[in-house]
């Protein structure tokens, strides 16, 4: 016993997961563990000669303390199990799992050594960015269920989804191929063009040089037909919707380049501009690839189904069975256990249940439901298991409706064109006018040949390659910088949106406060130890979360003898201890005679009375994030702040310092939050909404920039424009300033590329654009815009103090 207390003072960190062993210490062979689960994993790893796991990184394991018991029995359903497989033949099956817990190199190491843990596993391959593992296994030796259980026992629990989108082909493959072909053609045709550019006469008139243009003509075909495909599709799509985007002038330029070059090669025995065409596409595709590389392991478009359970426990003929959620029918009886989600609107069959609706309503205290009451889907059960009878099929219930609501479909987000697309409308018009004017001028002042040359040269040289690259390269770099600091933006367009924000709306619980920490204060004079011991003993009998919080906050007392314990759901508890009657609960419960001062349903205040005498009250409130005050006062200088909380208004006074009381709204339902954002937008505000739960999802979706705050990227986060780690929350003003500056850098890139256009156009309108000028000007303009974008943003990040990547455990 002595020994243990000494150890506890030093704060031992677990040998497996590295977390402090603050609850208990388990000792085994001079190693200490925070929980039984970590010890089991440690022993499993040791037994199988895999202890190098602990050498690859320092205490790399995943803590098993928070892990709940998962049942994967639904994998016994063969049709379902097979639907998860990517491939299956006589002897081998292949499957891919998404494992959110993958976080370091040791995870990769261990997961790729799975074959040592089970004979049936042939090989496994981790994709660290996507947090997936591909496993090949012999299904005669090991079943999918056993495989999943093995992963679960190592705390690498796979996240199994019902509707698997086809992820078999990587979306990047196509762009890699397009890029590779364009690069190949670019290099070779540039080589074939060089003799002409430098006027080299090395071939002594042997006629070989006349071969080169024809070779170029052949080489250019795959570029025109394959590499440039997506630009035609995109511009055709835009034109059909009577819009003009950036790809329209690009497509015009590509086609003008190609047809004019073919005309020159086949009718005038010239060289043409085909090397420039290949170069143009090579740079354009490079910029596109750079933009597409995003945070693969994050899911910005998660929907509600991904956090619904896959299977539920159904009671049929007095036996429990695991069934898939979508096979549940109305009038089925289900058993729901502690911390499980109510999958469908149902009737409560058990006497009583405590249900936490914080996802749906934002109210942080659970609601108590009585027998025969209707329970809505989406709540999480707290406490003892209950039986429920399904009333509606899971897909039809309230929560799905909330999400299937038309205004919540992701198409509903008003498509704001990005700046480049907005410019391109005028750009295209101006270029066409210049081209026609130049053509007409030369028609009258010169020959038809010159007119054609002037007309096409304008279209060619104005092709906004550099303009199109300014946004993806600059904002793509900015995205990477932000990502290193725990702020993951969905795409470059979102950064543009963020730079225009003028109003910031916060959710309270989980966003401004820590999601899981609570602070208890006692109002009144704290009674003596004898009475506190009695209170503690009564609280210990209750499973209500408030009771647990207060019980843990009080000093430890030996359990007293309790009689007449009674819990009135939603009201409070009472019992007699050593002859004294102790009542704990709502004010109306403890002091029934007294008029309750305010009508506010302030459920976070717990009153205590002993023998009818009120002793005082405990108030439990969530702890605000460290640095929240600085954050709010900082934002207050530049933005209009609002607060939308699903919770009660007990902290209004505290927040008054930073947020105008008129801008604080409490007890807001998800729909109200969404409507409020819409109202702000109708007043021409650009709104950033920061929230964490499902109850904010509508508002996040509706806002101009939805920001989901989460404690770890593997947790559920609703659909949004960016995901931010909670511990980075105080850096939000910095991030916003940085994104605004990055946006100015994009504008600088536009100016630079316009100036190249002016130079090129001055040659073009004079019908003097030679292939050499085009071949030099195009790559130079692209490369310089890329340099400006990347180096400029690097400089900005240094200036904003964002250049040191933080050590983040994702």
């Amino acid at each position: 016993m002595m020994n243990h207390t000494v150890i506890k003072e030093k704060i031992v960190s677990c040998q497996h997961c590295g977390e402090p062993c603050d609850e208990q210490i388990i000792e085994s062979n001079e190693s200490y563990f925070c929980c039984e689960g970590c010890k089991l994993v440690f022993e499993l790893i040791q037994e199988n000669d895999l202890s190098n796991f602990y050498c690859v990184a320092d205490k790399p394991g995943v803590s098993r303390r928070k892990g709940q018991q998962n049942s994967f029995n639904f994998l016994n359903d063969e049709a379902f199990a097979n639907s998860l497989l990517d491939f299956k033949n006589e002897s081998v099956s292949k499957v891919r799992f998404y494992i959110p817990a993958i976080h370091c190199s040791a995870c990769i190491w261990l997961l790729e050594k799975l074959y040592k843990l089970n004979d049936g596993i042939q090989s496994s391959r981790v994709d660290f960015n996507k947090k997936t593992v591909n496993i090949s296994f012999d299904h005669h030796k090991v079943s999918l269920l056993e495989l999943v259980k093995l992963l679960d026992s190592l705390a690498y629990t796979p996240d199994i989804q019902l509707d698997k989108k086809d992820h078999k082909t990587n979306p990047y493959r196509r762009i890699w191929l397009q890029l590779g072909i364009a690069g190949f053609v670019f290099g070779n045709s540039m080589l074939f063009s060089l003799p002409e550019y430098f006027g080299m006469d090395i071939f002594n008139g042997s006629g070989i040089e006349s071969l080169f243009p024809y070779l170029n003509a052949v080489l250019a075909l795959p570029v025109l037909l394959y590499s440039a495909q997506d630009y035609y599709k995109s511009s055709w799509g835009a034109i059909r919707q009577k819009q003009i985007n950036m790809d329209v002038p690009i497509s015009i330029g590509i086609i003008a380049l190609f047809t004019y070059s073919y005309y020159i090669i086949f009718f005038q025995s010239g060289l043409g501009y085909l090397d420039s065409l290949a170069g143009l596409l090579f740079f354009l595709l490079l910029g596109k690839l750079y933009q597409q590389k995003t945070f693969d392991h994050l899911r910005f478009d998660r929907d509600v189904k991904s956090f619904f359970p896959l299977s539920v426990t159904r009671i049929a003929q007095n036996k429990e069975e695991q069934v898939l959620l979508n096979s549940v029918l109305p009038s089925d009886v289900l058993r729901i256990r502690n911390e499980e989600i109510i999958p469908a609107d149902s009737l409560l069959l058990s006497d009583e249940a405590l249900i936490d609706y914080s996802f749906v309503t934002g109210e942080s205290m659970p609601e108590s439901k009585q027998k025969e009451e209707l329970i809505y889907a989406g709540g999480r059960l707290k406490g003892a298991s209950v039986l429920i009878q399904v009333k509606k099929r899971p897909s039809q219930s309230y929560l799905s409706q909330l999400w299937d609501d038309e205004s919540l479909q992701h198409h509903s987000k008003a498509k704001v064109q990005n700046t480049a697309d907005r410019i391109s409308k005028y750009f295209t018009a101006i270029v066409l006018v210049i081209a026609v004017v130049a053509g007409i001028y030369w028609m009258m002042a010169g020959t038809a040949d010159q007119a054609l040359k002037a007309f096409t040269s304008v279209l060619i040289i104005a092709c906004p390659c550099a303009l199109a690259m300014a946004t993806p390269v600059t904002l793509g770099t900015a995205m990477r910088v932000l990502g290193k600091h725990g702020f993951f933006v969905k795409n470059t367009h979102s950064i543009e949106q963020m730079s225009a924000i003028d109003t910031v709306v916060f959710d309270k619980t989980g966003t401004l406060t820590y999601p899981d920490k609570a602070e208890v204060t006692f109002e009144g004079t704290l009674p003596d130890h004898k009475i506190l011991a009695a209170i503690s003993s009564v609280l210990n009998q209750s499973k209500h979360p408030l009771s647990r919080i207060i019980y843990n906050w009080l000093p430890f007392y030996p359990q007293q003898n309790i009689t007449d314990f009674k819990e009135t759901a939603g009201q409070g508890i009472s019992a007699s201890v050593n002859g004294k009657v102790v009542k704990i609960g709502k004010q109306s419960f403890v002091e029934p005679d007294k008029e309750v001062a305010s009508s506010e349903n302030n459920s976070s205040v717990v009153f205590v009375s002993v023998d009818g005498q009120t002793v005082g009250s405990f108030s439990v409130r969530h702890v605000f994030r460290k640095g929240m005050g600085d954050l709010l006062s900082n934002l207050n200088q530049n933005f209009e702040l609002h607060l939308l909380s699903g919770d009660n208004p007990s902290e209004k006074d505290y927040l008054k310092k930073w947020i105008a009381p008129d801008n604080m709204y409490f007890q807001q339902l998800p729909g109200q939050k969404r409507d409020f954002i819409q109202k702000l937008q109708e007043e021409n505000h650009k709104v950033l909404m920061a929230g964490d739960g499902l109850n904010d999802s509508g508002a996040l979706m509706k806002s101009d920039f939805g920001l989901a705050v989460t404690e770890s990227t593997s947790q559920f986060s609703p659909a949004c424009d960016a995901i931010m780690l909670g511990n980075q929350f105080t850096s939000l003003p910095l991030f916003m300033k940085f994104s605004k500056r990055s946006y100015y850098m994009v504008l600088a890139g536009f100016v630079l590329s316009f100036s190249y256009n002016v130079v090129g156009l001055s040659f073009a309108v004079q019908a003097m654009l030679s292939p050499v000028i085009a071949a030099v000007l195009m790559p130079v303009s692209s490369v310089s815009v890329v340099m400006l974008g990347t180096l400029g943003v690097k400089y900005l990040s240094k200036k904003s103090g964002l250049h040191h990547a933080k050590d983040l455990k994702l």
Binding site: S51, N52, Y54, C55, V56, S105, I108, W109, E112, V126, D127, F128, N129, K130, N170, Y172, R173, W176, L177, G180, I181, F184, G187, N188, F203, N204, S206, I208, L211, L215
Partner: protein, 64 residues
């Protein structure tokens, strides 16, 4: 001078060979994941145990 024509053809064929290899590599999935191999290459086949170092230290202290 005909040798130049042969050279041009040969150079194109070689370049096409590399292009073919690239296309094969992309289709085989070699470009799908560019970050995990950078971790994988850092592991020794039989990395020395960290705990060995510790025990060595203990031994040397004991020897003193």
């Amino acid at each position: 001078m005909n040798i130049l024509i042969v050279l041009i053809v040969v150079s194109l064929v070689v370049a096409l060979g590399f292009l073919g290899a690239f296309i094969w590599a992309v289709k085989a999935g070699q470009f799908d994941d560019a970050s995990t191999p950078s971790y994988r290459m850092l592991w020794d086949d039989t990395p020395t145990q960290k705990s060995d170092k510790k025990t060595n230290n203990v031994k040397s202290i004991n020897n003193k």
